[in-house]
Symmetry: D2
Amino acid sequence: MAELTDAKFEIVANRYGKSKVRLLKVTRAEGRSDVHEWTVQVLLRGDFETAHTVGDNSKIVTTDTMKNTVYSLARWSSATTMEEFAEELIEHLLRRNEQVSSVRVHIEAALWKRLTVDGKEHPDTFMRGSNEVQTATVEQARAGEKKFIAGFANLQLLKTANSAFSGFQRDELTTLPETRDRVFGTAVDAKWTYSGPVEFAAMRKAAREVMLKVFADHMSESVQHTLYAMADAALEAVAEITEIELAMPNKHCLLVDLSKFGQDNPNQIFVPTDEPHGYIEARVRRK
Amino acid sequence: MAELTDAKFEIVANRYGKSKVRLLKVTRAEGRSDVHEWTVQVLLRGDFETAHTVGDNSKIVTTDTMKNTVYSLARWSSATTMEEFAEELIEHLLRRNEQVSSVRVHIEAALWKRLTVDGKEHPDTFMRGSNEVQTATVEQARAGEKKFIAGFANLQLLKTANSAFSGFQRDELTTLPETRDRVFGTAVDAKWTYSGPVEFAAMRKAAREVMLKVFADHMSESVQHTLYAMADAALEAVAEITEIELAMPNKHCLLVDLSKFGQDNPNQIFVPTDEPHGYIEARVRRK
Amino acid sequence: MAELTDAKFEIVANRYGKSKVRLLKVTRAEGRSDVHEWTVQVLLRGDFETAHTVGDNSKIVTTDTMKNTVYSLARWSSATTMEEFAEELIEHLLRRNEQVSSVRVHIEAALWKRLTVDGKEHPDTFMRGSNEVQTATVEQARAGEKKFIAGFANLQLLKTANSAFSGFQRDELTTLPETRDRVFGTAVDAKWTYSGPVEFAAMRKAAREVMLKVFADHMSESVQHTLYAMADAALEAVAEITEIELAMPNKHCLLVDLSKFGQDNPNQIFVPTDEPHGYIEARVRRK
Amino acid sequence: MAELTDAKFEIVANRYGKSKVRLLKVTRAEGRSDVHEWTVQVLLRGDFETAHTVGDNSKIVTTDTMKNTVYSLARWSSATTMEEFAEELIEHLLRRNEQVSSVRVHIEAALWKRLTVDGKEHPDTFMRGSNEVQTATVEQARAGEKKFIAGFANLQLLKTANSAFSGFQRDELTTLPETRDRVFGTAVDAKWTYSGPVEFAAMRKAAREVMLKVFADHMSESVQHTLYAMADAALEAVAEITEIELAMPNKHCLLVDLSKFGQDNPNQIFVPTDEPHGYIEARVRRK
């Protein structure tokens, strides 16, 4: 919905908020603590046109206040998932600010794993896990339903068998050899939409695990082939998912040509590379 | 346009290509050289459904071939702008591959500045400039017109006068003091659309310069206020721009409280911070 | 040993080599594969003064050849640890190049963990672990013994109990409150020296595990206090370690002041920060 | 000087302090402002052994206090160079804390360039320059002289003519062709030592400029050859420099083989790469 600005130009869309609000929440019970490290982004849309056009801040909720809101709500929140905490933030912000027409909260969780010492879980010490981040986005327009998107980013995987790439088009600029046996490295970004609120933690776990299993077991003919199999499996396994989008770079592991040195290389010595890389994405939905 | 896959699920959209194809082109004439360092991304859409669903690669143009295409075309290309080179890539890829329905090429340019030695421009030596990148995206569906988007990213700016933030909403979670004099630091991302092919280099320069001028001279009441003034000025200055989108984080420079040490701080000593940061974006178009 | 250059200046030291040689080695046996991802740096010292002073490359081993050497040796290497592979590289380079007086090889290992699917270890699929890197440096002068340094970098840890910081100096610039209960976050860098070749894999494991245990169980009065306890424990546990150096930033987790909002904060809501950060290092050796 | 700890182990060395203390100082005079963005690190050595061994913090200056010291001193400091500000910090810290035996302050400056608008320098607006950072390290033991090290890091340069690499050693692992004409890309790190306090700003400028000039004009036979010429020129140009250390990666720009596509490539089309890269360093001093 375009907003009227002046005779010649119009603001088609605008939003603003606070990014990188980092929250570490420690909860303690029965002699042990749990930690959640979340990085929160809050974005508002609403009646902010005159802030842009004439510098009138009277309807502006400051981004500093959004930051304070994250910390204040976190204190008494009973949310155990990012999705639930996002819902609390949205409800608070819509209730307090009638000039706000919609709120979007995006949260990313860092992975802290409880340390095992002498074979036992330690009550209070944690080690950082991988750089995979769990993500949740909840968005709500004042009049509408909440929209829930869960996912993860940068799940780095490597598969050393059952990966081929052959039968593709060739022209005079094609130099890639066909192969029935390659190393397949990627870093999966996944986002999926729920039809409504669900058992967030359980659904996230189920979707992620089935995609891992398919990646591992798939006889891959291409990144596209495996990506689709993973999307298909997530839709199959979790009925509450309406649509899923996967993006998977092909982080090429190049077979080193050792023939110059009189050596063979039966798929053993590779150069992992970051650039250039293939990039494959698809969005699949339930009919 | 949803693609039919199986009884239950459908691929809503898919695309793939090569990212981070780095190209350094050196041209030499009349005793001096010029350099362009471009990072190219090529993305295709088309008739690729069976690659996903049954692992049939017969219509797949490999991403390795896309990389080769970038280097091969660069050799004989007469393009002097990213937009023109993107057009050449698109035309080549659409002509050769009838299964491709649209091509998107995105290019980012690193800044190399000719070195000045003893007051004279050196013929062959260059120093890396700032981390601002110039960007160009050209996209074309087989049946349609080319769409041109130019822009830049990460243009870091700092303004130590004529920046205020006051008159905003307050509630019990608001602790930010009002100020009529603050330091305003940002990193501008800009993207604008042309109505068709234009004098790309001249238009890019004109749009960027007028936005810099407005940022510098604006009596800013907020990031929104300055962002809109910049967008407005670009539309005013370059008639070929139909729409412009700006994103400007507020990279807060916090005034240090020295009163604890018996010192005043008349807007002199600040802590520049990266997180959390405000985030403001708007899209403005010609009516 | 200073090298003679010209009448006025002398080269005090020089070395050169290849950095970021990335190697992925896949070994297959009995229906399953193992992967090692190592990033190798090779540095040479030797009779290279005329390369500097008069541009005479006749004694220069090219860094491209060093890269080739890494891949060629990797093919037939039986090394299972970074230390052993570094030894092979050093022996090869010293034997072939009499102008080389010493070789230093530094290797960093990325962590790939075998995926568990349906409760069983998968034969061919791996997930990237944390950003902790295992490191090994081996250095040898032609006439001398090999020097072995093992370690790890960026082991991120968090401790939510048994960490205090009190009783420190106060002056008029001191505003930090004393605390008997804080959250202690760090990212440990460790390097230790062996008296000679050892059971590299076992010693690495033993040193790392005892330091993790001490970090977890220590009643910490400061970063220094815990750092020393960890170093002491490593020396105690692994007799082959002659000296250990630890560096531990204090990645401050700041308790949020919620009193402005009428809320208490009994060590629950923190802001994890990256900058500024404390930095503590010490080197401890066996007498 | 080893510190006695217990019967078996001794602390060979220890130091601690605060890193990444970010300071933006704005000074205003005659209708225009100037900005300095410095990132400060303070490290102390001293009588801190019991903090390590028994958790006694009574001699510990907190790193939080060091941070406060940076901001408090900055307020009334008249230093216009990093070296002078480092001296002020060192003098303050040594004077106040008799348990401290030496202080090291390292400062890095980000580059903000005054914006030019309509051909005139703007009084209050700045654009971020390149990622080159100017560095200064000043260190002083209680009993000794101050030691001054100035330098810069990440000065990215590219030279498209007058760069060769030939006449090097060949063995059966050497595949690199010789060339009399290559593209030479690097990112220079430089550190040099003064005999005592000097005109810091002028000396820094003189050393940097002569090295840039030599890089540009040198007929380079190798990275070593150019590196030494630059070091030699700096020692020649600035008599106050006693020793200089340069590190210059060879950020390879690989000539693309277009012969597969029936095209020549007369030094025009290159792939700039980050890894692997050559690494060359040398330290040169005045006799």
